[in-house]
């Protein structure tokens, strides 16, 4: 599976530069949850790699290699997790640098906010990947964009309240994050099983 993940990484290098610029630009906008936005946006990287696969008919070739169908499906989940984790780390670094620059205090809420973003981005991926495996990238991407902007619009609308909500829930934040984390793992396992069925039912070539 390492070969598949490496191949995906080579495919998204160009896209990655764009995402980094995206994160920097949105992180610089005041009162905008840019870091959260960036983590969510990183979900698109695994979809981009799937678009490349579809365009080049990579799957037809991949299945002739020593990979099973489950390896191919699993690699997309693992790749997505890697992208979201890297985006989260990058997001924390940008937020810390931004706070240092504006001489504000670095609080634990940065980690909680990014933690929530990471968990919900992974939930988002778990909901969307089966659709992509079932419908293909073109239709799946439309669903992705609609969901993405709906979620971000919602977050944008309540962005001023987010930090106060986090502060109000301070004592419970860890518990909520823990529960969300467990939900995310369960959803990803279910999502993987559905994606596998969807992929197996397709004639790959």
């Amino acid at each position: 599976m390492r070969g598949l993940i490496l191949k995906d990484s080579f495919c998204i290098i160009r896209q990655l530069k764009f995402v980094i610029v995206f994160i920097l630009v949105f992180s610089a906008i005041p009162n905008f949850p840019g870091a959260t936005f960036a983590v969510f946006y990183s979900v698109i990287l695994s979809f981009t790699s799937m678009a490349y696969d579809e365009q080049s008919k990579w799957d037809s070739f991949a299945i002739t290699m020593p990979y099973s169908v489950s390896d191919i499906v699993k690699s997309k989940y693992v790749f997505g997790i890697i992208c979201i984790c890297i985006a989260s780390v990058f997001s924390i670094i940008i937020q810390i640098l931004s706070l240092l620059y504006t001489k504000k205090t670095i609080g634990i809420d940065i980690f909680y906010t990014t933690g929530f973003s990471l968990v919900y981005a992974l939930i988002f991926q778990a909901l969307l990947l089966p659709m992509i495996f079932k419908m293909g990238v073109a239709k799946g991407r439309i669903v992705f964009l609609v969901c993405f902007f709906a979620v971000m619009g919602l977050l944008g609308g309540v962005s001023e309240h987010i930090s106060s909500i986090v502060k109000n829930l301070y004592y419970n934040t860890f518990n909520i994050l823990s529960i969300s984390f467990i939900v995310m793992i369960v959803l990803n396992i279910l999502s993987y099983m559905i994606s596998l069925k969807a992929y197996e039912s397709r004639n790959i070539l």
Binding site: R2, G3, L4, L6, K7, F10, C11, I13, R14, Y52, D53, Q55, S56, K57, W58, S60, F61, I63, T64, M65, P66, Y67, S68, D71, N203, I204, L205
Partner: protein, 284 residues
């Protein structure tokens, strides 16, 4: 192991096309050429062998393993496949292909791969999207040959290549089968290529296997005959396997053993045999 590939009573139904009860073996150590017109079912057969398409019926064993068993994933380390197009993502370069493949195939031979890249004069750092069709196929062939495969499955691997490179690649395939454990299943539109390297010819038409024969036996068995229309009618019907009519004469593909020695026959080629059998009889 007697056969590198065993296809037994395999059927696959599509809306307007089907592979119909196909039985075909690739004996170990041999080169089998898969011949047929466009849409005859050659590529579908190869996809069924590799498990990329799910068969509706029958059984396929590759290197002794059922292609639906879990063990088949492992066996794919020993199979080199070149599809009708090279399906690498656009941004990939021959250099990155090496990095990917050495994490994919257990027996990936980096030096051998670099040797082929050099031999085929492929640019090491050029992205795949800038490759010509010939270069793309050369890259796919380099990959198929660089992990010590015991079986090569080649779907139109030589198409799009100029005659010199084709010759070079056919030599490489010939070299590959010097080891008696190595086998090749190759489909091609360029029948003259198959005639050069194949031990057996399998002819598929409309998803059905028309014949599977040793190449030399086919060439011994069939002959061409040119006659006037009147003389043609004196030939026994069962001896005639295909007919082409021109204004001056009738050219027929015949079974040599079934016609009298008084008829003067001409040597035929695999291409002639396939074309005549494929077209059937014309009105006389």
């Amino acid at each position: 192991m007697d056969n590198a590939i065993e296809i037994k009573n395999v059927s696959k139904f599509f809306g307007d096309f089907m592979i119909d009860n196909l039985t075909l073996n690739v004996p170990s150590g041999s080169v089998v050429g898969l011949i047929g017109g466009n849409g005859a079912g050659k590529t579908t057969t190869i996809k069924l062998i590799m498990g990329a398409l799910r068969k509706d019926r029958g059984e396929i064993k590759v290197l002794g393993v059922n292609n639906e068993d879990k063990e088949f994933t492992e066996i794919k380390n020993d199979i080199g496949v070149v599809l009708d197009e090279a399906y690498f993502p656009e941004e990939i370069t021959p250099k990155t292909v090496n990095n990917i493949m050495k994490r994919t195939y257990k027996n990936w031979d980096e030096d051998l791969y670099f040797g082929y890249i050099e031999k085929f004069k492929l640019p090491f750092k050029k992205p795949f999207k800038k490759f010509s069709r010939g270069m793309k196929m050369k890259l796919a062939i380099s990959v198929a040959l660089s992990h010590n495969s015991r079986l090569l499955i080649l779907d139109e691997a030589t198409s799009g290549l100029d005659p010199f490179v084709r010759e070079e690649i056919l030599d490489i395939f010939n070299e590959f089968t010097r080891d008696e454990n190595n086998s090749i299943l190759i489909s091609s539109h360029i029948i003259s290529d198959l005639e050069k390297i194949c031990d057996y010819i399998a002819f598929i038409k409309d998803g059905k296997l028309i014949f599977f024969e040793e190449k030399d036996r086919l060439l011994e068995e069939y002959a061409l005959i040119k006659l006037s229309k009147e003389d043609f009618l004196s030939l026994p019907e069962y001896a005639v396997k295909g007919v082409r009519v021109s204004s001056s004469c009738v050219t027929a593909l015949v079974l040599k053993s079934e016609i009298s020695d008084i008829f003067k026959t001409e040597h035929t080629t695999i291409e002639d045999i396939v074309i005549f059998l494929s077209k059937g009889d014309e009105e006389i």
